[in-house]
């Protein structure tokens, strides 16, 4: 016959709860540590890359500035500045000469109604645009308005400004009014 006897002098204590709790806490702490570590690593890496990029850009900017200064020094040398000035002057002659008067007359014909005649015309090239100062004589109010409307709706003539509208008192002249206009001429 077998009898089960507990011969322990102290009561049995189990540490399972402590070990499980400590293990869970250790796992959570380790995971947090790994997450934070990864975050720090990523931020530092991104910051280092950004700093390297910014430093690189600044370096390139400084090198380019220096290159530009050298080129500026080259262009301001008397001989080179003279050539630049000379080329600009000759180009201005070529530009002025290239203005096509024949074409402008053809375009002007399209907007000039009967009773309006050109008295004076002066085209000037300013910054690649052709500004025209035009003086016309009109035999009647109706002809004048017809001309202004045609000019305003024209594709070739734009930015039309009526500078002066003067009544001619001399009864011997066919023009009853003279108009001074400033406009932009372009063939695009």
């Amino acid at each position: 016959m077998r009898v089960r006897l507990n011969l322990a002098t102290n009561a049995l204590q189990t540490h399972r709860r402590f070990i499980v709790g400590a293990g869970a806490l250790a796992l959570l702490g380790s995971l947090t540590f790994a997450g934070l570590g990864w975050h720090v690593y990523a931020v530092r890496k991104a910051e280092a890359e950004f700093r390297a990029e910014a430093a690189g850009t600044l370096g390139k900017l400084a090198a380019s500035e220096q290159e530009r200064n050298e080129l500026e020094r080259f262009f301001t040398q008397p001989e080179n500045a003279r050539l630049h000035d000379r080329a600009a002057f000759l180009n201005s002659i070529i530009d002025a000469r290239s203005f096509d008067w024949t074409l402008m007359f053809m375009d002007l014909e399209q907007v000039l109604p009967g009773g309006v005649r050109v008295l004076n015309i002066e085209p000037v090239q300013v910054k690649g645009r052709i500004l025209v100062r035009l003086r016309v004589g009109a035999s009647s109010e109706e002809a004048k308005l017809k001309f202004l409307r045609a000019l305003e709706s024209s594709k070739e003539f734009s930015s039309v400004q009526l500078v002066n509208d003067k009544t001619v008192n001399n009864s011997n002249q066919s023009d009853k009014e003279t108009l001074e206009l400033a406009l932009v001429y372009s063939r695009i």
Partner: protein, 185 residues
């Protein structure tokens, strides 16, 4: 046995404290890192844009620098193609007469005014030409001036008569303000 566990428990608690402490330190460092002031992205993109503009400027300047011998040749060629000052007036008068006659136009008046351009090897001559003819002839005359191998720069024209009256052969009197250039010798 119980004594042994107490020691292990202390060890475990110390380890846990260490892990939590490390978490706290790393958390604080991470927060400081994230909130630290740094160069804004906008500044970098502005600098990059500035660099691109600067490089474009440099490319353009380099191109001009490389073309300088060619530009000088072109300038010399253009200037040498101008009439010499010594024989300019006769040549201009003859050429204008020829263009006018070809355009069935009559030159009424021809006025010259020569001016030197400082620091250049060129003389500019202002020309006031008064011509008489119909509309088509005037246009042909201007066209002839523009097609000429010589340099004629028409600045403006003033009309007496109806320039646009091209249906009739009404004569108009046109005063042309132009410029031509002579090579100073």
């Amino acid at each position: 046995m119980e004594r042994d566990f107490k020691f292990r428990k202390r060890l475990i608690l110390a380890g846990l404290t260490l892990v939590i402490g490390a978490d706290l330190v790393l958390g604080a460092y991470s927060w400081r890192l994230s909130s630290a002031p740094r160069t804004p992205r906008e500044q970098l993109s502005a600098e990059t844009q500035q660099l691109e503009l600067l490089r474009a400027d440099i490319r353009r300047a380099e191109q001009i620098k490389q073309n300088m011998p060619h530009t000088k040749e072109d300038c010399d060629k253009f200037e040498s193609a101008l009439r010499p000052e010594s024989a300019g007036y006769s040549a201009v008068t003859a050429e204008l007469g020829a263009i006018a006659s070809k355009s069935s136009l009559h030159i009424d008046d021809l006025a010259f005014k020569q001016k030197s351009i400082p620091n250049r090897n060129i003389e500019v001559v202002d020309l006031d030409v008064t011509v008489n003819g119909d509309y088509a002839s005037v246009v042909r005359f201007i066209n002839g001036l523009q097609r000429s191998e010589s340099v004629y720069e028409v600045d403006g024209l003033a009309v007496a008569g109806d320039l646009q009256n091209k249906s009739s052969n009404a004569a108009v009197r046109v005063q042309l303000h132009m410029k031509t250039y002579f090579r100073a010798v």
